[in-house]
């Protein structure tokens, strides 16, 4: 997904060679017809995007579910697993019903820069014979492949939120929240950041793009739309719902760090689908996004462990995996834009900042963000979003940006300015914090006053597994 201008020299070279091998057309075709698009699909791209979609699903289930579930007390284990599993399921249905249309169309809507229309509601006008643009001229994906890849992002984002108020939310209210939040917050955010006309069409319709895309904000794989968005919603939610009974007096150690480690590992593995898949093709830039994701995560895991070593003498597994997730979050907006060495720096930087929030500021401010959704996803997302403006710079070995306002799109190294870009990035971050923060607060508030967000104290004390779902996680 992406941005007003993007990608790198390698992509250009590769595209050139592809044209060479494809005698059916002489040069790139401006605004190809659907029939022509059908000939512009590469099976390698399709294979990569489908496996990427499967990987992103694996991030949510079982990845995120276990990462979160291991951290709660055993009496709430199933409730976390259930919340993630059902959010995934509900979000999938909402996505094909109206989400995709709101996010990825721009016709028949009063505010085409803010949110799409209903032309593709219930996947009307989408079939195995329609196509979606990639970031390269004259390279297309079958549209349903794009729909399902994007669907997995709409599944995981609301699932991220639940960590902030785990162990104390009413299940039915949560599901209602998710449907409303996707509709009012996520789909518009996705539209504003990711929607554009595509490289073969933009030159002729230079304003057909989402608001933040139009600003030139860079977000390779979803730092704003996914992590800052979910992180701030989580914070707002945990403030409105209130602290867990017994917090912080009663000790609430993680019930199974083994599950948390499995979850973190699967998040790491699946994140390649998220970040490298976001290139929409299987080319050299995909490789860039892949290796950047790998090394930033390595660096952040090491960095967190080092902070713990210095702070209290023992590096912990929970620290290492938390650092890895922070690194994954931070590299997300920059994945295909930076270089491996600057990604490592980014990884090293993000962990101490998140650590500060998680281990110190949270305690001081006294909010009960059970699983540190704000401290890791929102803060990590902000660090990554801003750093993207720096690491994308060709002067630092970054991939720079493509100029899509000309046809065919061309590489535009000269015009890159770190300071201008960082300002744009900060603007995008602030916009997301306000839009999602305020919007989410309103949604939480209304649901709290109507359905009620919180189970009874007794139900909470007994554990949500039994009180909400009538099950017990373990019967050894």
């Amino acid at each position: 997904m992406t941005v007003s201008k993007k990608l790198c020299g390698a992509a250009g070279a590769m595209a050139a060679s592809l044209f060479a091998a494809a005698p059916a057309w002489a040069g790139p075709i401006k605004a190809p017809t659907v029939e022509q698009m059908a000939g512009m699909v590469d099976k390698g791209d399709v294979a990569w995007m489908l496996i990427s979609a499967a990987l992103v699903l694996m991030m949510s289930i079982p990845g995120l579910a276990l990462f979160y579930g291991g951290l709660v007390r055993s009496k709430n284990m199933l409730s976390v697993l259930m919340q993630v599993f059902m959010i995934v399921s509900v979000a999938g249905l909402v996505w094909v019903s109206w989400g995709y249309s709101l996010a990825f169309t721009s016709t028949n809507t009063p505010f085409p820069a803010i949110v799409g229309g209903l032309d593709k509601i219930f996947l009307a006008n989408v079939s195995s014979s329609t196509f979606a643009a990639t970031f390269s001229n004259n390279i297309y994906l079958p549209e349903l492949v794009f729909v399902v890849f994007q669907m997995t992002f709409a599944m995981i984002t609301p699932a991220l939120i639940v960590g902030a108020f785990a162990e104390r939310v009413k299940f039915s209210a949560l599901i209602v929240f998710v449907v409303v939040w996707l509709t009012l917050i996520y789909f518009p955010m996705a539209h504003m950041v990711w929607y554009w006309a595509g490289p073969d069409f933009l030159a002729d319709a230079p304003t057909d793009a989402g608001l933040l895309w139009g600003w030139g904000a860079l977000d390779f794989a979803g730092g704003t739309v996914v992590h800052i968005n979910a992180g701030i919603a989580g914070l707002v939610g945990c403030l409105i719902i209130g602290k867990r009974v017994g917090y912080p007096k009663e000790p609430m150690p993680p019930h199974s760090l083994v599950m948390t480690m499995i979850g973190a590992s699967l998040l790491w593995v699946g994140w390649f689908g998220f970040n490298a898949g976001s290139n929409l093709e299987s080319n050299a830039v995909t490789g860039v996004a892949f290796i950047n994701t790998m090394v930033a995560t390595c660096a952040a895991a090491v960095s967190w462990a080092l902070v713990e070593q210095f702070h209290h003498g023992k590096p912990s597994l929970l620290g290492a995996v938390t650092g890895a997730v922070a690194g994954l979050v931070a590299i997300t907006p920059a994945a295909g834009l930076g270089a491996p060495m600057t990604s490592i720096v980014l990884g090293f930087v993000v962990s101490p900042i998140c650590y500060l929030f998680v281990a110190s500021i949270k305690g001081k401010l006294g909010y009960d963000d059970s699983l540190d959704v704000f401290g890791v996803h929102c803060i990590g997302g902000i660090v990554g979003a801003i750093a993207t403006g720096i690491v994308a710079s060709p002067a630092l070995g970054g991939q720079g940006v493509f100029d899509y306002t000309v046809f065919p799109a061309g590489f535009d190294a000269a015009s890159y300015s770190i300071s201008t870009q960082v300002v744009t990035q900060i603007k995008a971050v602030l916009f997301t914090l306000v839009f999602s923060g305020v919007g989410s607060a309103i949604i939480f508030f209304v649901i709290d006053k109507t359905i009620g967000l919180r189970p009874s104290v007794d139900a909470e004390q007994e554990g949500l597994d039994l009180s909400s779902h009538g099950e017990r996680a373990y019967n050894y």
């Binding site: 017994g246 007096k249 009663e250 000790p251 004390q461 007994e462 039994l466 009180s467 009538g470 099950e471 017990r472």
Partner: protein
Amino acid sequence: MKLVMAIIKPFKLDDVREALSALGIAGMTVSEVKGFGRQKGQTEIYRGAEYSTNMVPKIKIEVVCDDDLAPRVVEATQQAANSGAIGDGKIFVLDVGQAVRIRTGETGETAL
């Protein structure tokens, strides 16, 4: 000496421990048990098969103390573990004939 054995609700453990420390009790032994009693457990349903157990997770505390302290231990435990709800549990007091500290071999009340 007496063995005070209390069956309490799990989330009351911390309160009881604090109450006993306040009395000067230096040690105790805790185990996870399951209780049957008036308090009924939640009905569990797995693919339509219902299990109406009346088995509820409880914590068993065992404290050995000298005879004089025993009534105050019982009282303190009763107050700290009380939530007023069914299933708060029981306290039983048994006689202990002898106590030995393994490390030193000390016996009797000095072993506690």
